[in-house]
Amino acid sequence: MKNNWPLWEVFIRSKQGLHHKHAGSLHAADAQMAIENARDVYTRRNEGISIWVVESDKITASKPEENPELFEPAADKIYRHPTFYDMPDEVKHM
């Protein structure tokens, strides 16, 4: 069978997680089928409590060749990290 269904990106929110995380992609004819396929492909080992799907071509991504101007200027601005404070031991998960 020729598969010309669009590609969908799947985001799963896990039991502990606050955010949906990208889980992978799959093919489906429409959004409803994408949810069901995602349920079967990505949550069958008890991974999730919520699913988002979005058609892959609806995602606008940054271009790798623009990486220098997009990301490199941040590399030498260490003062943007809160690394100059003494953290009390009681504060965890920083």
């Binding site: 069978m1 269904w5 093919h27 489906a28 409803q32 089928m33 069901e36 396929n37 079967d40 492909v41």
Partner: protein, 250 residues
């Protein structure tokens, strides 16, 4: 009465087991990866249900047989599954039609069995119902998609429906062990399910633009051990290991 409960439990287990096996035959052969996984997921749900039921059957029987003995060491005439579930997969459309016709029944069945006065069956029904609710949603949607799809898909599922229709009557024919179980409050009154099943099937077929078959002649016999030739082939494959290497374990 104990015998009826045993037969009743084995009948339910066999339905789940044989349909689970049929869906398992799709493993690696699904039309696309996602549907392959979906069908084997449903297969595993059904085999899980069958296990719970076989375990319970072994307990009711009380002769030291295990769930595996009951599943793998009986011959076709001892199986009590309905004929519908042993019908060959055909193409994906036919598998979905078979699944839908059974799911629509199974959903209503477990919904009622939840109220059984037998606590074990009620508990199995409660757990299974969640799974079957999803199965029904999945197969209904595929019947609609394919029925209301292209000319080719419509024709294929219409033919599948016409072929399988004569096996739907048996779902609602009450045999002795079912009558016994219904009379004592353990089993489900299938007469009551029939109009609900018809309503559901009518609705899905209408949405799928499929014509309900008009033939009223219904084939039955599975529940009393008179099976189609297909069951023998299923068992030959399914039971091969245990029959060739008795007592073999993983």
């Amino acid at each position: 009465m104990k015998n009826s409960l045993l037969n009743y439990t084995i009948h339910l287990a066999d339905n789940a087991h044989i349909l689970g096996h049929r869906l398992g035959e799709w493993c690696g052969h699904g039309p696309i990866l996602e549907q392959d996984i979906a069908m084997t997921n449903i297969s595993l749900d059904l085999i899980g249900q069958a296990r719970s039921l076989y375990q319970y059957a072994a307990e009711i029987e009380g002769r030291g047989r295990t769930e595996d003995d009951i599943a793998y060491l009986r011959d076709a005439w001892d199986f009590r599954n309905v004929l519908l579930v042993e019908q060959p997969n055909g193409d994906f459309g036919k598998t979905m039609v078979r699944q839908f016709l059974f799911d629509a029944y199974n959903f209503l069945f477990y919904k009622e069995l939840k109220n059984s006065n037998d606590q074990q069956l009620a508990a199995i029904a409660e757990k299974s119902l969640k799974e079957v609710t999803y199965h029904q949603r999945f197969s209904s949607e595929w019947v609609i998609r394919l029925g209301d799809g292209t000319e080719v898909s419509h024709e294929k599922v219409q033919n599948a429906l016409n072929d399988l229709w004569m096996y739907t009557g048996e779902l609602f024919v009450m045999n002795d062990f079912e009558k016994d179980m219904t009379n004592n409050g353990t089993g489900v009154d299938l007469e009551k399910l029939k109009p609900l099943w018809q309503e559901k099937v009518d609705y899905i077929l209408k949405t799928a633009t499929l014509a309900k078959p008009q033939n009223d002649w219904m084939q039955s016999g599975g529940k009393t051990g008179r099976h189609s030739e297909h069951l023998g082939f299923i068992l030959a494959e399914m039971q091969f290991m245990q029959k060739t290497y008795p007592g073999q374990v993983w």
